[in-house]
C-alpha cells in the first residue's frame, strides 16, 4: 500500500485532506475494520449459542436424575423375620417380600380402594431388599421398632412421575401394567408415593441393570478423584523436570532434537494405544491390580505428560532472558537462577498446561476400556487411602458410558445427570487452578 502511494504523483492527492473528515480510502479501511469486528462478534455469538444449547439440553435432560419417586413408609422387622431372612440364599429378596407385605397392609389400612395384588406391588416398587438388609445389619438395635424408609420406586413409576411414561405410551408388560397406574395415583394421593431429592444418585455406587433407582455416581467420582491424584503427582513433577532439563540445561544436539520430536509425536497418539500399553505393561507384566484407579491414573499420566511438557517448555521460553542474565550476573548458580527466578515466573503457564492435561484425562474413557474400569464396577467407597488407589472402581466418563448403553430408559437419564456431575467436578478443578495461578502471577 505504502509503496503504491509513493509512486503516485503528489498532485493526485486531494488538497482537502483532514484527519477529521476521512476520504474515500480511509472510510473503506475503517469499514473493513468494522466488518472484521462484526465477523468476530458473529463468531463469538455462534459459539455462545452452541454453548447455551448444549448447557440447556444437558441441564434439561440431566436434572430429572437428581430426583426420584420414592415410597415412604414405616417398616418394622421382627427378630424372627430377620433371622429367617438371613438364613436364605437370596436374602435381599426375602426382605423385599417382607417390605411388600408391610406396604400392602398399610395400603389396606389407609383404605385405598383400588384392587391390587403382590405382583402389582412388586412392579411398582424398585429393588428394595439391598437397602433394607444393609440398614438392619448395621443397626441391629432397630430390629423390632418401626423405621421410616424412603425407597426408590421402579423405573417406569419414576418415569410416570416425571412425565417420561404416560398412560398413552405405556404398553402392558411384566414391568408395569396400565392398571398399576391407578394404584400409583392412589398411593401418591395418600402421600405414600412422592418425589424426593435423590441423594443416592450423588453418593451411591452403580447398580444392576434392573435397578436404575439404586444407581449412583458417587463411587466413580471417588475413582476419578484418585485417578486425578495419580496423574497430577506423576505427570506434573516428571513433566516439569523433563522440560526444565530440556529447556535450560540440555545441550542442543541430534539426540535432544530426536527427543523433542518424539514428545510432540506422543501428544498426538490416540488414547486407546495407552490403554493397550497399560494392559500389557502395568497389569500383565507388573501385576498391578485390574480395574484399579492406580493403573488408570498411570495410563492417563502417560497420556498427559506430553501436554504438560510442551506447555511447560513454552512458558519457560516465554520468561525473558534478562531475568536469567540478572540472576547469573549477581552470582546465582544456573540451578538457583532456574528455581528461584525462571520457574516462579513460568508457573502460571505450567498450571494452565496442567489443567488442560488433567481435564483431558478426566474425560477419557478409551484407555480405561482395556484395563477393566468400564463395565459393571459396583464397589462402594474405598476403606482407606491405599484402598482408594488399588480397589476396583470406575471413573465418571466410564460410568456415563455404561449407563448410556443400558436398555432401561431410567439409566439414560442417569447418564445425563452424570454429565452434570462431571462438569461440576471439572469446573471445581479449573477454579482451583485459576486461584493458584492468580497467586503465582508476577508482572515484570
Amino acid at each position: 500500500m505504502t509503496d503504491a502511494n509513493l509512486d503516485k504523483p503528489a498532485a493526485a492527492v486531494p488538497a482537502s485532506r483532514s484527519l477529521l473528515n476521512g476520504d474515500e480510502r480511509t472510510k473503506k479501511r475503517e469499514a473493513a475494520e468494522k466488518r472484521f469486528q462484526y465477523y468476530g462478534m458473529a463468531a463469538i455469538c455462534t459459539g455462545l449459542f452452541f454453548l447455551v444449547v448444549l448447557t440447556v439440553s444437558i441441564v434439561r435432560s440431566g436434572l430429572p436424575a437428581f430426583t426420584n419417586a420414592v415410597v415412604a413408609v414405616d417398616f418394622s422387622l421382627s427378630q424372627e423375620e430377620f433371622d429367617a431372612a438371613e438364613g436364605q440364599l437370596f436374602k435381599t429378596k426375602a426382605y423385599q417380600g417382607l417390605f411388600n407385605t408391610a406396604l400392602q397392609n398399610k395400603l389396606t389400612e389407609a383404605g385405598i380402594d383400588v384392587a391390587f395384588d403382590d405382583k402389582a406391588i412388586e412392579r411398582i416398587l424398585g429393588k428394595t431388599g439391598g437397602t433394607i438388609r444393609e440398614y438392619f445389619r448395621e443397626n441391629t438395635d432397630d430390629i423390632g421398632s418401626p423405621v421410616m424408609f424412603e425407597l426408590a420406586a421402579s423405573s417406569r413409576v419414576d418415569g410416570y412421575f416425571k412425565g417420561r411414561v404416560t398412560r398413552d405410551t405405556l404398553v402392558d408388560s411384566r414391568f408395569l401394567e396400565l392398571n398399576d397406574l391407578d394404584i400409583v395415583d392412589a398411593m401418591a394421593e395418600a402421600g405414600v408415593l412422592k418425589t424426593a431429592f435423590n441423594w443416592n444418585f450423588i453418593t451411591g455406587a452403580d447398580s444392576g441393570v434392573d435397578n436404575p433407582g439404586g444407581a449412583g455416581i458417587g463411587a466413580s467420582v471417588v475413582g476419578s478423584f484418585f485417578m486425578m491424584l495419580v496423574v497430577l503427582f506423576l505427570s506434573l513433577p516428571i513433566g516439569v523436570a523433563a522440560s526444565i532439563y530440556l529447556e535450560e540445561f540440555a545441550p542442543q544436539n541430534r539426540f535432544t532434537d530426536l527427543i523433542e520430536v518424539n514428545i510432540s509425536n506422543l501428544a498426538a497418539v490416540p488414547s486407546i494405544v495407552f490403554g493397550i500399553l497399560g494392559l500389557a505393561v502395568f497389569i500383565q507384566f507388573m501385576h498391578l491390580p485390574q480395574s484399579a484407579p492406580l493403573v488408570g491414573g498411570l495410563v492417563l499420566a502417560l497420556m498427559t505428560l506430553p501436554t504438560i511438557i510442551i506447555s511447560t517448555r513454552a512458558s519457560l521460553q516465554a520468561v525473558p532472558p534478562s531475568i536469567r542474565d540478572a540472576a547469573l550476573g549477581v552470582g546465582a548458580s544456573k540451578m538457583q537462577a532456574v528455581f528461584h527466578h525462571v520457574l516462579p515466573l513460568a508457573m502460571p503457564g505450567i498450571l494452565t498446561g496442567t489443567i488442560i492435561g488433567l481435564a483431558q484425562a478426566l474425560g477419557e474413557t478409551a484407555p480405561l476400556l482395556l484395563i477393566g474400569m468400564v463395565g459393571f464396577v459396583a464397589r462402594g467407597y474405598p476403606d482407606g487411602l491405599i484402598a482408594g488407589f488399588t480397589d476396583p472402581n470406575s471413573a465418571m466418563p466410564a460410568q456415563i458410558y455404561t449407563w448410556a448403553s443400558r436398555a432401561d430408559v431410567g439409566f439414560y437419564e442417569k447418564a445425563w445427570g452424570g454429565i452434570i456431575v462431571l462438569l461440576i467436578f471439572l469446573l471445581t478443578m479449573n477454579t482451583i487452578a485459576i486461584i493458584l495461578r492468580r497467586r503465582f502471577e508476577r508482572r515484570w
Binding site: 437370596f90 503427582f233 506423576l234 501385576h287 491390580p289 477393566g372 459393571f376 459396583a378 436398555a407
Partner: protein, 343 residues
C-alpha cells in the same frame, strides 16, 4: 515444588508396594454384552447378599472376552468369560496353549433374538428366514438362477412386505449374536430359498457353500453394529425404514419405541422361546477357569449363586429381566457344584 515431588514419589512407592502384597479379592469377569445385563444383576445381588466384594463385570463381546480369558492362569487374568455362544475349538486350543486347560462351562439360560423396527415406521410384521436371506445376501435366487442380489425393496421378493428400502442393522462379527443370526436365520434362509443347492450345483464344495451362505451384501444395505443394542436402537430411530436385530430383553425394555416382527409366524416371547417354537434363540454361557477356584475368593460361590433357583429360576430376577430360564438348571447346578470341566 521439591516438596510436592517428594510426596509424589512417596505416594507412588506406597501405592505400588501395597498392591504387590495384596491379592485380588474380587471376581473379574469379561465378555458378551448380551450376558452383561444378567451378570450385573447377579453381581449386585451377590455383593448385597454375601460378604464377598461385588464382582467386576466388563463387556466387549464374546470373542474379546474369551480371548482375554484364554491369555493365561493367574491373578492378572480374568476368572470368568461371558459368552452368548459356545466356546470354539480354536479358542479352546488357544486356551490350552497358554495353560488354561480346566474350563467349566455353565449354561445360564436362553435368550431370543428379535427383529424390530421403529414403532411408527413401515409395517414390518412378519418375516421368514428366506426374507432376511433375500434381503441381505450378496447372491440370491431370482427366477431359478443365482444372481447378484438385485433387491432394493422388501416387496421385490415378497409381496406381503412393504415396498420400502431394505436397510438392516445387524450385530458386528465380534458379537456372539452374529453367529446365531447367521446360523439360525441366514443359513436357514439360504437353504430354504434353494441358494445353497444352486451354489453346490455351480461347482462349490459343501463347506464352501456353507460359508458363502453366511455372507451379507456389502452395498450398504446391511450395516454391522459393533457397539451394543443402544447403538442399534439409535440407528433405528434415525432410519424409519430400518430393521434391527435385538435381544428379547432389550426389546421388552423398549416396547414404547420398537415394534417386533414375527419369525416364521411365531411371535417372540419368553414362552415361545422356552417351548422352542420361536426359531431364533440361543443358549447363554459363562466359562470358569477351574485353576482360579480356591485362589480367587468367592469365585465358586459367585457361579453357584448365579445359577441358583432363586436367581436363574423361572421366578428369579433374571427371568423378570428377560432371560428364558434353563429347564435343566439342576444339571448345570450339579456341574458347577462338582466342578466338572469340559472334555
Amino acid at each position: 515444588m521439591l516438596n510436592a515431588k517428594r510426596t509424589a514419589s512417596a505416594l507412588a512407592i506406597v501405592a505400588v508396594s501395597a498392591t504387590a502384597a495384596s491379592a485380588r479379592d474380587q471376581v473379574q469377569v469379561a465378555g458378551s454384552s448380551t450376558v452383561l445385563p444378567y451378570a450385573s444383576i447377579v453381581a449386585e445381588a451377590f455383593g448385597e447378599n454375601t460378604d464377598y466384594p461385588t464382582p467386576v463385570i466388563e463387556s466387549g463381546g464374546s470373542s474379546a472376552g474369551l480371548k482375554r480369558f484364554c491369555q493365561g492362569v493367574g491373578e492378572e487374568h480374568t476368572d470368568v468369560a461371558n459368552a452368548s455362544r459356545k466356546i470354539r475349538e480354536k479358542e479352546l486350543a488357544a486356551c490350552a496353549e497358554n495353560g488354561v486347560t480346566d474350563i467349566i462351562e455353565v449354561r445360564i439360560g436362553y435368550d431370543g433374538i428379535v427383529f424390530a423396527s421403529q414403532i411408527s415406521g413401515p409395517d414390518y410384521s412378519a418375516f421368514t428366514p428366506s426374507d432376511i436371506f433375500n434381503a441381505l445376501a450378496p447372491k440370491v435366487i431370482v427366477d431359478g438362477a443365482l444372481v447378484d442380489n438385485p433387491h432394493t425393496q422388501w416387496a421385490d421378493f415378497n409381496g406381503d412386505l412393504p415396498a420400502t428400502d431394505i436397510l438392516a442393522f445387524i450385530p458386528g462379527t465380534k458379537h456372539g449374536t452374529r453367529e446365531v443370526f447367521e446360523e439360525k436365520v441366514v443359513a436357514t434362509g439360504c437353504e430354504a430359498t434353494g441358494a445353497k443347492a444352486a451354489m453346490i450345483a455351480g461347482g462349490m464344495s459343501e463347506d464352501d457353500a456353507e460359508d458363502a451362505c453366511l455372507e451379507v451384501r456389502t452395498d450398504g444395505r446391511s450395516v454391522d453394529i459393533d457397539g451394543d443394542y443402544t447403538e442399534t436402537l439409535a440407528s433405528i430411530n434415525a432410519n424409519a425404514n430400518g430393521i434391527g436385530v435385538f435381544g428379547l430383553a432389550f426389546y421388552e425394555n423398549n416396547t414404547d419405541k420398537l415394534k417386533v416382527a414375527t419369525m416364521s409366524d411365531v411371535a417372540p416371547s419368553t414362552e415361545t422361546i422356552a417351548s422352542g417354537e420361536y426359531p431364533v434363540s440361543r443358549p447363554l454361557y459363562f466359562y470358569i477357569k477351574k485353576a482360579h477356584i480356591g485362589v480367587i475368593p468367592g469365585l465358586k460361590e459367585y457361579a453357584q449363586f448365579f445359577i441358583s433357583n432363586e436367581l436363574a429360576g423361572p421366578d428369579g430376577p433374571l427371568a423378570t429381566y428377560g432371560l428364558v430360564s434353563d429347564p435343566e438348571l439342576d444339571v448345570v447346578q450339579y456341574i458347577v457344584a462338582s466342578e466338572e470341566t469340559m472334555k
